[in-house]
């Protein structure tokens, strides 16, 4: 039997069927995967609010240039972030402040807490020694233990990758939503990138794994 050519109408119909099948498979996969998204949740609620100090187009543009001035890039991003956080009563912490808190005796006692707002893969690859993990996109994973630690803590430092990363800000907003006072919260804008670049120690694997770098 000789091959039959498809009409464009048939091709179009089959394309639509393929895409609908993709949507159906995607919905099922999203529903059963532990990494699945909650379709109705506004993951960026704290960042989208009008007047909340969204990152300016200039600050975003700076980070897209191939060779931008790094200082002006981070300054622009942090200025926008500072405005958004200040609207909620949360302060930004610079590297010196983060190091000071890390070295404070209260850190070991649990009165200072570091929270890593990145996902499992990044957390296990290396986090600030003793930090807890709070992934904004999988809140249910660690929230109970985090809230317990936050109840005892007097200072809570939340960080992510640094630079354009907004996960620390989103995680800080989550903690606010769950009743952690804004006065306890600090967002370390430099994040793990600045931490490691300054030669500060990190821990790999799970929290308190004892596997430290360098």
């Amino acid at each position: 039997m000789s091959p039959r050519a498809f009409t464009f109408r048939e091709i179009l119909r089959d394309s639509v069927v393929l895409l609908l099948a993709g949507i159906a498979v995607g919905l099922v996969a999203n529903g059963i995967s532990p990494r699945g998204l909650s379709l109705r949740r506004d993951y960026f609620a704290g960042l989208n609010r009008p007047g909340a100090g969204h990152a300016t187009s200039e600050s975003r543009a700076a980070s897209f240039a191939r060779a931008p001035a790094v200082a002006s890039e981070s300054t622009g991003i942090n200025a926008a972030r500072r405005v958004r956080l200040a609207a909620r009563g949360i302060d930004l912490a610079d590297h010196a402040r983060a190091v000071e808190l890390f070295r404070d005796g209260d850190y070991v006692a649990g009165r200072i807490v570091f929270i890593d707002a990145r996902d499992d893969v990044h957390f296990k690859a290396g986090h600030i020694r003793g930090a807890w993990q709070l992934d904004h996109y999988r809140l249910e994973q660690h929230l109970t233990e985090i809230l317990g630690a936050c109840a005892i803590a007097e200072r809570i430092v939340v960080y992510c990758n640094g630079g354009e990363c907004e996960d620390s800000e989103l995680a800080a907003n989550d903690l606010l939503q769950f009743g952690v006072p804004a006065t306890k919260l600090l967002v370390y804008a430099g994040g793990i990138t600045e931490w490691t670049s300054q030669g500060m120690p990190i821990e790999t694997g799970s929290r308190a794994s004892g596997q430290s770098l360098p």
């Binding site: 091959p3 393929l18 995607g26 919905l27 999203n30 240039a65």
Partner: protein, 156 residues
């Protein structure tokens, strides 16, 4: 009646394999990290509201993978290639609009702009991305234009 052109048969097969494999790879990269894809998708600021954003992040990678797999395995290849062509056109418009908005805010030349477009290939220079998409669209067009497959299936 359209008959296969033997000398072009292997080009078409190679095109669908390359295109299919790339779409499976790009789709898989996104499907394995839906939150990461969601964050990148949000930066385009094109979708109206959280539901549309979340839904797109959840299902688009699977549409890419399904169409890619259909191309690789030779099932409904013209339909899959057409779907890929439509997706490529949409992605190209989206990255161009975003790059243009960045271009307008600063002194950078258009081709100096680079960002992670959420395409599954990491950070890209916009002009390189546009060339890549044009090349992939040409491959998809070649497969769509082919009419040698019985009922659109081409297991060879």
């Amino acid at each position: 009646m359209n008959r296969p052109v033997p000398s072009r048969g292997w080009v078409r097969r190679a095109s669908r394999f390359v295109l299919g494999a790339l779409f499976v790879y790009f789709g898989l990269a996104k499907a394995l990290d839906p939150a990461g894809f969601l964050k990148l998708l949000r930066q385009f600021d094109l979708l109206p509201g959280p539901f549309a954003l979340n839904l797109t992040a959840a299902v688009l990678p699977w549409c890419e993978m399904l169409c890619g797999a259909a191309l690789v395995f030779g099932l409904r290849v013209q339909a899959a290639a057409l779907a890929v062509l439509v997706m490529l056109a949409s992605f190209t418009i989206a990255v161009t609009v975003r790059a243009w908005s960045i271009y307008q805010t600063g002194p950078l030349s258009f081709c100096a702009i680079h960002f992670d477009c959420g395409c599954g290939s990491g950070e890209v220079v916009i002009c390189v991305k546009l060339l890549q998409n044009t090349a992939l669209a040409a491959l998809a067009g070649l497969v769509v234009a082919g009419s040698t497959e019985s009922r659109g299936d081409d297991p060879t």
